[in-house]
Structure formats: structure tokens, C-alpha cells
Amino acid sequence: AQTVTQSQPEMSVQEAETVTLSCTYDTSESDYYLFWYKQPPSRQMILVIRQEAYKQQNATENRFSVNFQKAAKSFSLKISDSQLGDAAMYFCAYRSENAGNMLTFGGGTRLMVKP
């Protein structure tokens, strides 16, 4: 079974600064997808960014980018120019290519943004 680990329960960043959230995962598969979801106080799960394991290029979505290290099974999220609206719980998630389409989530990181 796959496991996803987020080692930082809480992180804090100053507004306009950059912060990196860590995520590691364990899998024996070679084809899979990785995601970062944001859960603000409204509790809505919002997809931030996704990465296909077969792609070597790191995904980027505006201020959000990932550092995907397949050999190390690491998938960190970098948020640049942090904004107050970025404050939320962030979940890293894994989805197998072949063994069902459900997501396996990490324990989450609470990000606080200081004005």
C-alpha cells in the first residue's frame, strides 16, 4: 500500500516571502500521479497543482511550483510571493495509475501567513 508523509504539521511564512512544504511517499509503482490540495477554513478541497510521475519537468501553476524527485520519492510544494489567502491546510496526495483512482492523502501541513 502507498503511504504519504508530510513531516511539517505547521509552517509559517511572512507575506510576500517564499515557503516550501515537504512531502514524501512510498510506492513500488512506477506510474502514478501526485497532487497538492489546499483546504481553507471553508473546508473545501481545492486542487493546487498536479504532477505526472512520468514527466521529468516540475509542474508550475503561477506562484505554485513543485520539486519532484522521483528517485527520492519526494514531492515538495513551493509557494512564492505568499499571500494572506494562501493560509490553509495543504495536503499532499498520491494516486496510482493502475490500482484504482482513489487518492491517498498525507497528514497535512497547516500554513500560516503573517502580514
Binding site: 500521479y33 473546508r43 473545501q44 478541497m45 505526472e52 491517498t104 498525507g106 497528514g107
Partner: protein, 114 residues
């Protein structure tokens, strides 16, 4: 654009009662997933349906059952409720085609068992 609709948004039940949660996927989406997120926890996969058939099963208690109907909406039935069932229940939907990876989440149903 239409999103995943869950009803009700909030539900309060007493122990040993029964609850039914409903999920209306995005139009033309053929796959529905149910997740349970306890207080301070990450979402845990319960069960999924593809084209009205159960496709995967996760950590769903035997007291829970679910199905997907001909119009693709899904219902999660929970019986003999326990205090520990208090959680946020998410439904997500996706269109299962090659290369599509994204599942869209509803806003969740918050179930409180008292």
C-alpha cells in the same frame, strides 16, 4: 461551471440513528468517490463507483453502504451511528478517460453524531 453538489451540508444525528448523504457529480462525470475526514485528520478513502458499479473499497465500515444511481448521483447510507462517525464527508467526481487525473471535490457534508 457546475460543481459537485453534496447534501445536506450539515447533519446532526443521535447515536444509533441512520443518516443518508447525497452526492451529485459534475455532469458527464462517470466516477464518484467518498472520503471521510475526521477532526484534525486527513481525508480517508471510503468507496468509489464507476458507471454505477463499485470500483474500489477503502476503509468503509460494514455499517456503511453506498450506491450510484442511473443518473450518476450517489448516496452514502450510514446506520447505527457512533460518536466516532462525526466527520466531514467529501464526495468527489471525475471523468475516467485516459490521461485525465483530476477529481473535483464537493464542499462536504459535516455529520455530527451526539
Amino acid at each position: 461551471a457546475a460543481g459537485v453538489i453534496q447534501s445536506p451540508r450539515h447533519l446532526i444525528k443521535e447515536k444509533r440513528e441512520t443518516a443518508t448523504l447525497k452526492c451529485y457529480p459534475i455532469p458527464r462525470h462517470d466516477t464518484v468517490y467518498w472520503y471521510q475526514q475526521g477532526p484534525g485528520q486527513d481525508p480517508q478513502f471510503l468507496i468509489s463507483f464507476y458507471e454505477k458499479m463499485q470500483s474500489d473499497k477503502g476503509s468503509i465500515p460494514d455499517r456503511f453502504s453506498a450506491q450510484q444511481f442511473s443518473d450518476y448521483h450517489s448516496e452514502l447510507n450510514m446506520s447505527s451511528l457512533e460518536l466516532g462517525d462525526s466527520a466531514l464527508y467529501f464526495c468527489a467526481s471525475s471523468l475516467t478517460v485516459t490521461g485525465n487525473t483530476e477529481a473535483f471535490f464537493g464542499q462536504g457534508t459535516r455529520l455530527t453524531v451526539v
